[in-house]
């Protein structure tokens, strides 16, 4: 399991290779990459809570490993100033079969959006502003637990 927070960009191909290098038991690698959308913004700055962000992602990786038979997990989240087209986040999951790899990657992204302490501030021509959390993100995470969305409590 690898969880990294960094300012620098990441190389998706290199991360997949790292996950599966020297192994013949892996039959599926799923990746999700979050990318900074243009959407009228000049740039965005990602703030995070050092220490807690890593800990929170690691807690959810441990939960994913308990739920699915994973053979490897990599999560990389960038912070600092990003411009449209830049990578933001990578989740890569490896398993024997695709079902676990797909499901675990989706689970990790849903929880990462809802629970990992990161905040986006957008720079627009008309001024800067903090991105507001979306109710749909709480609903997406809630489907894994059958409980009500946290944000609606």
């Amino acid at each position: 399991m690898a969880v990294r927070l960094q300012r620098e960009d990441f190389d998706i191909g290199a991360e997949i290779a790292l996950l599966s290098r020297g192994r013949t038991d892996i039959g599926a690698v799923a990746t999700f990459t979050g990318v900074c959308r243009g959407d009228g913004i000049v740039a965005m700055t990602l703030e995070h809570y050092p220490g807690m962000a890593e800990a929170e992602i690691e807690r959810h990786v441990a939960e994913a490993q308990a739920r699915w038979p994973l053979l490897g997990v990599t999560v990389i989240h960038r912070y600092g100033r990003l411009v449209p087209g830049d990578n933001i986040v990578l989740v890569a999951t490896a398993s024997q079969h695709r079902e676990a790899a797909f499901a675990a990657a989706e689970f990790l992204m849903d929880y990462l959006k809802l629970r990992a302490p990161f905040w986006k501030k957008e720079e627009r021509a008309g001024g800067d502003g903090w991105v507001e959390a979306r109710q749909s993100d709480a609903a997406a995470a809630a489907r894994w637990s059958g409980r009500r969305p946290e944000a609606a409590e």
């Binding site: 809570y49 807690m52 933001i88 992204m109 629970r115 990992a116 302490p117 990161f118 903090w130």
Partner: protein, 83 residues
């Protein structure tokens, strides 16, 4: 104990962190929010919609009724928007 503020909570209060020594009557995170709100208009502004603000004690998410006894680090921040 050490308080940390992030995103617009940090901007409204005007500092990223501080050391505080709250009175003994402050038992929970919610009590702490009420006490902080009385410290000045920048705090009152940051916590004006206290129910939307999230808290963490020693890097774990907690609810407003969580006790603060023994906490080393308490953080306040808006709902998260990473990913």
């Amino acid at each position: 104990m050490k308080l940390l503020y992030f995103a617009w909570v940090r901007e409204r209060i005007g500092k990223p962190e501080e050391e505080i020594d709250p009175p003994a009557a402050v038992h929970t995170v919610g009590d702490l929010v009420t006490w902080l709100s009385g410290r000045g208009e920048e705090y009152a502004y940051a916590f004006e919609n206290g129910h939307v603000i999230r808290a963490a004690i020693d890097r774990n998410h907690v609810k407003q009724d969580a006790p603060i006894a023994g906490a080393r680090e308490i953080a306040f921040f808006p709902p998260m928007t990473g990913g």
